[in-house]
Assembly symmetry: C2
Homo-oligomer: 361 residues x 2
């Protein structure tokens, strides 16, 4: 088992990473100090892991609430269900909420913990690679609103994160690959050596090798933690974590939400970001090819839908009149060094968009 401490002063917490942690009462006892625990999970994960988690929490008073599975349920109504469960099971201020599942479960459960009695403890037990490398660090919790994603929420740090990599064995391979896109992202924006390590260990990662997964998750969390620690409330450097997201958003929206997984869209979006970085003279064609190859080897899509550059621009929140420099993008100065900038020529962006989305429709 690997142990990583996220330093946030008195709100710091450990991330425990390894195989079969769900079956280890000592690990759970360290993570969950409370006597009373409400486990929040969903209908897909519950049959797989809820009983096992419950057994490892032996000696505590454990209740659970099983939510429907899916981003469309990340709503205030579902939040209310979790709050109802906390009340129904008479959880008090000393209770702990345990989030067993992916990012959606973690976001809802974390937000419920943030506002129940104005804040109770919560612990994450992430069961998807995306949640293990992304949502377990940063303290963002919340739900969607018909007016926008994650519009309602709180910053609330977990007490501990228990990452049992054994849970990845039941994760659909497409979701595993989407999670790898985020792992690659950390290498691209912050650590060229890690990028090389991913290339060297990609087959092991896809083969669910314990040591490789443990290292990839640990290093991803470390990088995210370093960036977040400098910028907990997201004003500056934290934006680096959005590499590929603005382009990816255009891809997701053009294809219709749900067609592309978020990680898939981010992966292809990163390819556009490195392409634009090449046009600015920061990367070589060989660098771009290296990224494309890595994404392709990971089984991730590398070709954006052909919707035309003008439509893509619109979906990125820009139109031709306010093109250059108006939207800050995360680009790559050199492999392993991301940069947030609004200072790029309009025609370089246009060329990237045309190359990937096709010329104006």
């Amino acid at each position: 088992m690997q142990r990583l401490r996220i330093e946030l002063g008195e709100r710091g917490y450990p991330i425990l990473i390894g195989p079969a942690l769900l079956d280890d009462p000592a690990v759970l006892a360290e993570a969950v100090a409370a006597r009373d625990v409400l486990v929040v999970t969903n209908a897909t994960v519950a049959p797989l892991y809820l009983d096992r988690l419950g057994r490892s929490l032996a000696g505590k008073r454990v209740a659970s609430v099983v939510l429907p599975d899916g981003e469309q349920y990340k709503t205030l109504d579902t939040l209310a269900r979790v709050l109802d469960a906390l009340v129904e099971h008479r959880m008090n201020r000393d209770a702990c909420v345990a989030a067993l599942g992916g990012g959606v479960v973690g976001d809802i459960a974390g937000f419920a913990a943030a506002c129940y009695q104005r804040g109770v403890d919560y612990v994450q037990v992430p069961t998807t690679l995306l949640a293990q490398v992304d949502s377990s660090v940063g303290g963002k919790t919340g739900v969607n609103h018909p007016g926008g994603k994650n519009l309602v929420g709180a910053f609330h740090q977990p007490r501990a994160v228990v990452t049992d990599i054994g849970t990845l064995a039941t994760l659909p391979v497409r979701e595993l690959r989407a999670g790898l896109a985020e792992v690659i992202k950390y290498g691209l924006v912050a650590d060229a050596a890690f990028l090389g390590w991913i290339e060297d260990h990609l087959d092991a990662l896809l083969g669910l090798d314990t040591a490789a997964l443990t290292h990839a998750i640990r290093r991803s969390c470390e990088i995210k933690a370093e960036i977040v620690a400098e910028d907990e409330r997201e004003h500056g450097r934290r934006a680096l974590l959005n590499l590929g997201h603005t382009f990816g958003h255009a891809i997701e929206t053009a294809a219709g939400y749900g067609e592309w997984l978020h990680g898939e869209a981010v992966g292809t979006g990163m390819l556009l970001a490195v392409d634009l970085s090449r046009r600015l003279g920061w990367l070589t064609a060989a660098d771009v090819e290296r990224v494309r190859t890595l994404l392709a080897r990971s089984g991730l899509p590398t070709v954006a839908p052909v919707i035309g550059a003008a439509r893509a621009l619109e979906l990125m929140g820009m139109d031709k009149k306010v093109l250059a420099g108006r939207i800050r993008l995360v680009l790559v100065k050199q492999l392993g060094e991301g940069v947030v900038t609004g200072d790029y020529p309009a025609d370089a962006l246009a060329a990237t968009l045309e190359a990937h989305f096709g010329a104006a429709a």
Copy 2:
């Protein structure tokens, strides 16, 4: 105009207290830095003050949402209405929520501000004496749940509090008196000189004298701020602010919620607390009489409903088996010095309850 600064490090803020502040664009400009403002108010207050506030926010983009009036609407559903309004009016992260009304409006609006986009600014414009002396300091926001009051919420400090004492002219006199109970509370737990000042200026306060109200509100906020600053997250000394609340809770519940105003129940509850303090030898009979006289002069009830001591004990969350020392009460060591203690003889508490609620039914 009086100006009081609440010191909370980078989350400190000013409380501005005086007459006609609602009509003063300079005051509002200082309090509300944002260009975009959503005013949250209720159906009782809106006809009285919404237009005036809007005019004083001239030059800003101002939208409003008018909630139904009443504690029964302090719910997640009403919170959702405020969040919907924020989205509908395209308020972004730089927007400000202004709470125009009493404690319920402030609690809902503050919680909406706490969780919209994981936190936007808010400003309080309290229009009841209770809100002016109590909810404008401390950072507690939230809504009720069928399982309990204030079960869902956040700690979120306002950017500023604008206390226009002119709004008290439209406050029902019974609510003014209930607010005075809280003012008296501050004297009892923390400042004997202030208690004497209240006695000397009670007629001026009830007559809505500007100078007297300004001083009473300012001193109340100062005392609350001193106590809260030591204990922002409510673990120790902040409990002093609950003088009269445990006894008051029994009174409110016995009478049926809504029969007694919260401040009224707290007022009579304080009388029980000083009575018990006398039985412990801390106060004299003359002290108790002083408090009773002050409450009576304020027009507050001083006689609890006759429900029997046993029932009262039950409503306080105790039964005979777990009586002594199990529930911490706020008592008064000497006038102007509150104390939180679970260390009192069971028979002294029983005597106080029998004297006020009647012998066992």
